[in-house]
Subunit: 362 residues, 2 copies
């Protein structure tokens, strides 16, 4: 069956300021690899889906940027443009209807634009297993990450104690919201909880049936313009229809209500690279656990430990003295110095810049 | 009697990298005031000596830079150029001989190029008192700073319990080297010790007599070229003589051996601005004790305490998040991020840059 990867890439990513900007969010910058994150993502499933079968749902502004950074192998007609942002359910039905129009039916993998994968071989194997399972069983398949610590930053998935298909595919019992630390610790200790990676695999026909049943208005609106999809009238039809679609996430609108969802517990060095402190889990530090990303001759860390230099431009020389647990970021127009324990507060910088009208820095 | 200020300005100042450089050391940069430090210094005694009576002893490289930064009122013929650096005794005899040639005799105040003075009025008053005392008594007068904490970074001066002249001029009993903390604490608690400020006031005739007696070879060498001073032959004569002068400090060569030295205990908000952490004592912080030097609209400190931003150029926006006790410095070509407790280690950065041949950053 035809396979397709759908990447939802509409987000802003303020937690990686000053690297990520409104115009160039996280997925469009080089953060953990040799290429921009969205290309790193596409590379990851080259052998199971193929970059030529990649679809991206994004907004107009980012689409223009993507045109510059994407592999030539990614068909530009595979970039679906949302006229307004309507959360993930509209985004997914748009992609699913597009695939239905193109292929009748297809295996569709919804994959993140901006996560780091440490073990590509294992990732490919798991995605392949998920695609095979979705094809054979007509079920929704999701991938849960085996937790390595009691994170309070992720949603969790509770799964069955016995595999339902083969040895690796389990019944998904329930989704749970981000827990507090004590609850997270219980989850991790129990061995029956996984991190929700936001990766979903299904047949187009299966997910569209769920939409018809669980989000019937949205389904009807999109079905009404099905004939215009992949025609010169598509843009006009989408622009008329999209703003009226319900703002709802696929997690809340479909996943939490769907029955018989499968989950594959996985361990492929996943990291959602959610904020500056998560680079520690992606790069290997030196003997003092310091990490330099960028031109390594352009900085010096004297008596520093557990410190990251992220040098995106290399124009000003960077010297750190006596720092602990810190991040120094240099871009063309900004310098960020961060205590890793406060990595979430980078958002406050972005908020303050908005308030003070510094559009040039956003 | 003619009064003259002599500023010794030959030093490098690696502890303020990246602001201070080999070519532009501390005294030639704006650090604590509206102007470069040497001009701030000259301003300080406008009312007691006058900037037109300022003499500067420096090297060729810095002399060229000074020509650009100095007040127009400072006579360019008052810049005395050392062909090689020979410590402070040669520097002072060169200046003293010059003043003798120009004025026969004069009151000479040796003042630092790069110290911060918080209370100018009081400083002027003390310098004036020192000049008057030197004039009336033919003694060497030095200024000791009333210690505010048991510093291990300064030499100390032990002084008599009773004033010898008026109510403020004491006998200097002895100079002592930088002590360890316990000793420093004893000194401060005793009330009989002062910090050695390196400010000396004397008559030219008096200090030259000391040279004749205590450093007779140096005296003879300089006396031999006395006729050439202030003539077109001066440069040639100095270049021939200077390299042969003994490398010795005025403290060791004269001061510690001189008898009958007076000291004036003083308190005029003195700070030698020795390293990045000393800016705390010069500037007043905000409610979180943060200090921004430079364009205040070009940085933001979110959840930071006791942190300094020193922005010499303002081209890249600076954001600090969750920092404590830190210094961020931006210059045209470098960024320094420093834990204040390690302020002395900035020197190691300079050493490392030297070793790796980064002359462009020195």
């Amino acid at each position: 069956m035809q396979r397709a990867a759908v990447i939802m890439a509409g987000g802003g990513g303020t937690r990686f300021w000053p690297i990520s900007r409104m115009a160039a969010p996280k997925q469009l910058v080089k953060l953990t690899g040799d290429d921009v994150m969205i290309n790193e993502t596409i590379k990851h499933y080259d052998h199971v889906i193929g970059r030529e079968n990649t679809f991206i749902v994004t907004n107009e502004k980012q689409a223009q940027l993507m045109d510059k950074v994407l592999f030539d192998e990614v068909d530009r007609s595979h970039i679906l443009i949302e006229p307004v942002q309507r959360n993930t359910a509209p985004c997914i039905i748009y992609a699913a209807m597009t695939l239905k129009k193109m292929y009748g039916d297809a295996l569709m993998a919804v994959l993140p634009a901006d996560h780091h994968i440490g073990n590509i071989k294992e990732y490919e194997r798991v995605i392949n297993l998920a695609l095979d399972t979705a094809e054979k069983t007509d079920r929704i398949v999701t991938i849960g990450i085996k937790p390595t610590f009691p994170s309070t930053g992720y949603g969790y998935i509770n799964f069955s104690s016995e595999a339902s298909v083969g040895t690796e595919v389990y019944d998904l019992l329930k989704f749970v919201e981000k827990p507090n630390y004590d609850v997270a610790k219980e989850y991790v200790d129990s061995g029956r909880y996984l991190w929700n990676s936001g990766m979903f695999i299904w047949k187009v026909s299966v997910i569209l049936d769920y939409f018809k049943k669980l989000l019937p208005d949205m389904y009807a609106s999109m079905e009404a313009i099905f004939d215009q999809l992949r025609t010169p009238d598509e843009t006009k039809a989408i622009e008329a229809t999209y703003p009226n679609l319900e703002k709802i996430s696929v997690d809340y609108g479909i996943m939490e209500k769907a029955e018989g969802v499968y989950v594959i517990p996985a361990d492929f060095g996943w990291n959602d690279v959610g904020s500056w402190d998560s680079l520690d889990n992606v790069f290997t530090g030196d003997s003092a656990n310091n990490i330099v990303v960028g031109d390594k001759t352009n900085s010096i860390l004297e008596g520093c430990t557990n410190t990251v230099v992220f040098d995106a431009v290399g124009d000003k020389y960077i010297a750190g003295v006596g720092l602990e647990n810190s991040v120094i970021v240099q871009t063309k127009d900004a310098i960020l110095v961060l205590n890793k324990d406060k990595a979430q507060d980078v958002k406050k910088i972005v908020d303050a810049l908005k308030e003070s009208g510094r559009e040039d820095l956003l």
